[in-house]
């Protein structure tokens, strides 16, 4: 019941949001910054933003990466990197986004993803003079677009370009000397068995990173993020398992939990203990640290051989 409600709510919110994303007239002013956000809306600022609220963890990370961390006056409750972000005022995000609180923080720009807000909420924010900018990267190219977009809004184009070229360089080094030969398979576990297995299929940045290092994503036939059957993981028998789940307890790690699952002992990755845990969201957020995550995974896999 609750799940269905959530589904309907999510769908209707998504629909209203897309409906609300009409193009605005770009008033061409001298020195003004005009950008097109990732929902195709045009946003104009008279000067680089100095007060920003970012609702997603990835946008927070990008702001700090381009050296604009000090402009952050509010952040979504799930933002936890870099550590100093916890000193910024926390704002309720997602379906329960606290519009009043955001307006009270008086930012010039609100960075958020699609899906989260209704048309009416966006209008409330815009009536309060806040430029709502949608940043919603699904793949690595999208991450570059998001970094460029945020760089432009902050007047930090050069820093943004440097971050992007740094990422590109890491990815190029990995592709130049791939860890696998295209036959080894990898399975990304986004949510652990106890709560239903979720994985990253094709069209996700995790899939791109697997391909980049010469590995085959076990679930490349699934598109996007999806809940998959435990049976399928066993039948597809991955050579490597990557977990980004925040689980684990005082007495066991996520790797140990996977190793101990009934029936998983037939999986090659479990037999070789080729399970890699990235607990700090390096590989689960569409932001600049994806390159770090890719490098960590690359080093892990090359060390396995």
């Amino acid at each position: 019941m609750k799940r269905i409600l959530a589904l309907i709510l999510a769908l209707s919110l998504a629909l209203t949001l897309f409906a609300g994303c009409k193009q605005e007239d770009a008033s061409a002013q001298s020195g003004a910054i005009t950008v097109t956000d990732m929902a195709g809306r045009t946003i104009t600022l008279n000067e680089p933003a100095t007060r920003v609220v970012a609702l997603t963890a990835s946008d927070c990370e990008i702001l700090y990466a381009i050296g604009a961390g000090e402009t952050l006056v509010g952040r979504g409750e799930f933002c936890d990197y870099p550590p100093q972000v916890s000193e910024v005022e926390s704002v309720q995000s997602g379906y329960d986004t606290n519009i009043e609180q955001i307006i009270a923080l008086a930012p010039q720009v609100l960075l958020m993803s699609t899906m989260a807000q209704s048309e009416a909420q966006v209008k409330q924010l815009e009536d309060a003079g806040i430029r709502v900018v949608v940043s919603d990267a699904k793949d690595i190219a999208g991450v570059y677009t998001a970094i460029e977009l945020i760089g432009k809004l902050m007047g930090k184009e050069a820093d943004a370009a440097a971050v992007i070229s740094g990422m590109q360089q890491t990815f190029a080094e990995i592709s130049a000397n791939p860890a696998g030969d295209g036959t080894q398979t990898i399975y990304f576990e986004v949510s652990p068995l106890e709560y239903g297995l979720w994985t990253a299929g094709s069209g996700t940045f995790m899939d791109e990173i697997a391909v980049m290092m010469g590995l085959k994503n076990c679930f490349a036939d699934v598109s996007g993020w999806a809940e998959i059957s435990e049976e399928q993981v066993i039948a597809r028998n991955p050579d490597y398992i990557v977990t980004v789940s925040p689980m684990g307890g005082a007495d066991f790690t996520p790797e140990q939990e996977i190793m101990g699952r009934a029936g998983w002992e037939t999986i090659t990755a479990v037999q070789n203990a080729a399970i890699f845990n990235l607990p700090d969201n390096e590989l689960s957020r569409p932001a600049n640290r994806l390159a770090d995550g890719a490098k960590l995974l690359y080093d892990f896999i090359t060390a396995q051989k």
Binding site: M1, K2, R3, I4, L7, E77, F78, S191, P192, L193, E194, Y195, G196, L197, F219, D221, V222, A226, E227, I228, S229, E230, E231, Q232, I234, A235, N237, P246, M247, R261, A262, G263, W264, E265, T266
Partner: protein, 340 residues
């Protein structure tokens, strides 16, 4: 005059259909394993012989079979609880999900996760214990309120109180989550709960609970029949009204608490299964309760089969399937009942 008890052939028929559903659910799954291999694996497992096909045998024995067992036992428990509640409250819409008892149990589990209530030996016992306590407390709270407002417990009262209580629980859950910010992800994942990862241990816990609590409920069939006529009449013909109520309520709370802590809240099973069964076997609880057990198993097994296979390799949450089928069937039953 209708037969008081289950006739032997009826029992055999229900058992046969349930067994057929069980076999179907073991043989069909997300990964295709041929019938021949399936039988071979099962034969080797029973005979204690080494398994030839390691992948097929682990999938069948470690993943599919425990899940199918958990699903069957949850289905039986939920349907039995629904039938018992409907009899006790003389209300066709009474069920742990409509009343909000399942939500109460879920709140208990969330509280256990948020505040780290845990028994060191058995990690699941913490959530299960609090789920049971919260289920019982919710049940008492809801019924006390209902009797206070409307002694006859009309359908409207039940539904209204259920809706209000569920809202209350969901806000309480938000409050708990706010206080336990570091457990947000874990709690969010838990509320999306899943029958994936069901183990033989889970099945055993469900089985023992069903045996004990289900036994208690089944033994109250005569009393539940008397309740159907009226509490005063029941009292006059020698039914210990208070004791019967308490026994059934405790048994239902424990069953719901265990089910919710293992498989999350699964709606509609306890509501529509007894309705459908009543059309088949009539309102006598001596027949209705065991028939509900069988039908709940069959219904949830088939719903889970759809959830597992329709979009393979992707899985649907089982609640989506039960609510979808349940809502349609419910409207049909309601329509027929109104017309008839």
């Amino acid at each position: 005059m209708k037969q008081e008890h289950f006739r032997a052939w009826e029992f055999a028929a229900f058992s046969a259909v349930t067994l057929a559903a069980l076999c179907l659910c073991v043989c069909v799954g997300s990964v295709n394993i041929s019938l021949k291999d399936t039988l071979l694996v099962l034969k080797n497992a029973v005979a204690g012989l080494p398994q030839g096909n390691a992948t097929a045998s682990t999938i069948l024995l470690s993943v599919r079979l425990p899940r199918v067992l958990c699903v069957a036992l949850s289905g039986a428990s939920l349907a039995l609880c629904g039938a018992a509640m409907q009899g006790l409250l003389k209300n066709p819409l009474a069920d742990s999900s409509t009343l909000g008892v399942s939500s109460g149990a879920a709140l208990g589990a969330v509280v256990a996760i948020a505040f780290g209530i845990q028994l060191p030996a058995l990690p699941i016992a913490g959530t299960m214990g609090t789920a049971i306590v919260f289920a019982f407390a919710s049940m008492l709270g809801i019924l006390a309120l209902a009797y206070k407002l409307d002694y006859s417990l009309s359908t409207n009262t039940i539904i209204l109180i259920g809706v209000v209580f569920s809202m209350f629980v969901s806000s309480a859950m938000s409050v708990v989550i706010t206080f336990a910010a570091d457990k947000v992800q874990q709690i969010t994942f838990w509320t999306m709960g899943s029958l994936q990862g069901s183990s033989y241990f889970n099945a055993a816990v469900l089985g023992v609970t069903l045996l004990l609590c289900g036994g208690v409920i089944l033994l109250q069939s005569r009393e539940l029949n008397a309740f159907a006529v009226g509490e005063d009449t029941a009292n006059h013909i020698g039914v210990h009204v208070r004791r019967t109520k308490l026994l059934v309520l405790i048994a239902v709370s424990v069953l719901i608490g265990v089910c919710v802590s293992i498989g999350g809240t699964i709606a509609f099973v306890g509501l529509i299964t007894p309705h459908g069964v009543r059309l088949l076997v009539g309102p006598n609880h001596k027949r209705l309760l065991p028939a509900s057990c069988f039908s709940g198993m069959i219904f949830l097994l088939l719903a889970d089969l759809i959830a597992r296979t329709i979009l393979k390799p992707v899985e649907l949450p089982i609640g989506v399937v039960t609510s979808f089928i349940g809502a349609v069937v419910f409207v049909l039953i309601f329509y027929r009942a109104r017309k008839g």
